[in-house]
Subunit: 208 residues, 2 copies
DNA sequence: TCCAAGTTGTGAACACCGTCCACAATGCCG
DNA sequence: CGGCATTGTGGACGGTGTTCACAACTTGGA
C-alpha cells in the first residue's frame, strides 16, 4: 500500500515492476510472479505494466534474466572467497569447485529465484546476454567457461576435449540443485547435502 | 466435444481425468494441466473433478506420478534392448548406461510429461511409491538403484561407496535432461546432444 | 510561447481459471 | 420398496491476463 505518487508519471516503472517481480519469484518461484500483484505492489494500475512489458511472459523473462545475474553473483562470491596459492592447476581446480558450490548455494538459499532463473526456456544464443550477467558483467555460463579455460591453460584438460565441456559440468551441478530444491533430496540435512555436493564435484573433477 | 454420456454416472471419471491431464501435460507441461479443460475433454462439469481430486494440485500430482511411471517405462525399454554378453562388470556398466539413456530419451521425446513428472515437488520418502512405478512396478529411482547394486555386486564399486550414489548419477542425467529441454542445449542438433550424452555418461561411469 | 504529437498511466470490460455452495440424479443395501 | 451415501450439475465469487478507449502528462518544433 505505498502512498499515492506525487507525480502522474512513475519515474521508472519498469525497474519497479521488475523488482516487485523478483520479490514475488523469491517467495514463490516463477508461478508466483503475477502481473497484477506486481503492479499492486508498485501502486499502479494493472495495465500500466503493458507499457513496459508485452506480456506476463515478458515480465517473467526479465525476472529470469535478473535472477541469473544473481546466480552469477553467488558464483563470483564463492570465487572471490578463495585464497590464492598452490600450483596453477590446483588453483584452477579450486575455482571449478567454487563455481559449482556457488551455483548450488544460490539454489539452496534462493530456491524461488533459482527456479525462476532456470525454468524459463532459453537457448545457447542467450547464454552470453548481458541481461543475464551479474555485477561483474559475466553470466553464469561465462563464469563456468572461464574456469574451464583456466583448466586447459593449466594443462589439466587437453584442448581437444575442451569443446562442450560446459554442458557436462553444468548438467551435474544443475541436476543436483534441482534435486535438492524439489526433488528426492529435498528435506535432507544440510550435512548430507554438503557431502553429496562434494562427492558430485569430485565426480565432475575426475570425469573432466 | 464427446457425445453426451448414456448414463448419468461416468464410470471411471478419475481415470478419465487423469488421462486428460496426461494429454494436457504432454502438450504443454505442468502449467497446461488445467482442471476445467480436463473436465471439458471428458465431457463432464468442472466440479465433478472435485469428487475425485481435492485440488488442481492433487490432479497434477497424480499426473506427475503417472508421468514418472512412463519415465520408468522408457528406462526399462532401454534396459531390455541390451544384448546380454561380456563379463558381469561389463553388463552392469552397460545397464547403467541404458538407464541414463532411457531417462534422457524420455525427456527428449516427451518434454511436457518429463517436466510434469519432475517439476512437482516430492521427497525421498515418495521415491518408492508404487504410484510412480512403471509397467514393471519399479520407479525410476528404483531402477537406478538396482543397477548401482549390480555394479557393487560385480565388484565395480566398493560397498563403502555405495550409499547415496543414486544422487550423483541422477543429478548428472537429470541436469542434462533439463538443459536439453529448456536450457542452453535446447535446439542443438540431435547428434550434438547424443555426443554430449555419451560424454556425460562416461563422466558418471568413471566418476563412480 | 503554444500547441500538436507521442508517451505513460487509468478505467471498464471480457474471457478464463480454481473453488465453494446448494441441489439433482443415481446406485446400493436393508 | 425406501432411505442413504455417492457422484454429477448449475450457479456464483474472486482472482487472473489482456484489450480498448480515454486521460494526464512531457516534449519538441513553428
Amino acid at each position: 500500500m505505498p502512498p499515492p505518487r506525487a507525480t502522474y508519471r512513475h519515474g521508472d516503472l519498469r525497474a519497479a515492476l521488475l523488482d516487485a517481480g523478483l520479490q514475488l519469484a523469491r517467495a514463490g518461484g516463477p508461478d508466483a510472479v503475477v502481473l497484477r500483484e506486481a503492479t499492486r505492489r508498485v501502486g499502479v494500475s494493472p495495465n500500466a505494466a503493458y507499457r513496459h512489458f508485452a506480456d506476463r511472459a515478458a515480465l517473467l523473462a526479465a525476472v529470469s534474466d535478473a535472477a541469473q545475474g544473481l546466480a552469477a553473483d553467488s558464483m563470483k562470491t564463492a570465487l572471490d572467497a578463495l585464497t590464492a596459492g598452490g600450483t596453477a592447476a590446483e588453483a584452477a581446480r579450486g575455482r571449478l569447485h567454487a563455481v559449482g558450490s556457488g551455483y548450488i548455494a544460490f539454489a539452496q538459499h534462493e530456491p524461488g529465484l533459482f527456479r525462476a532463473a532456470f525454468t524459463v526456456p532459453s537457448d545457447l544464443s542467450e547464454a552470453f546476454s548481458l541481461a543475464k550477467a551479474g555485477r561483474d558483467g559475466l553470466t553464469p555460463f561465462q563464469l563456468l567457461a572461464g574456469v574451464l579455460d583456466e583448466l586447459v591453460a593449466a594443462g589439466e584438460i587437453g584442448a581437444d576435449r575442451r569443446l562442450g565441456l560446459e554442458f557436462l559440468a553444468w548438467s551435474a551441478v544443475h541436476g543436483l540443485a534441482m534435486l535438492v530444491i524439489d526433488g528426492p533430496l529435498r528435506g535432507l540435512t544440510a550435512e548430507l547435502i554438503d557431502a553429496t555436493r562434494e562427492r558430485l564435484l569430485d565426480m565432475v573433477d575426475s570425469g573432466l
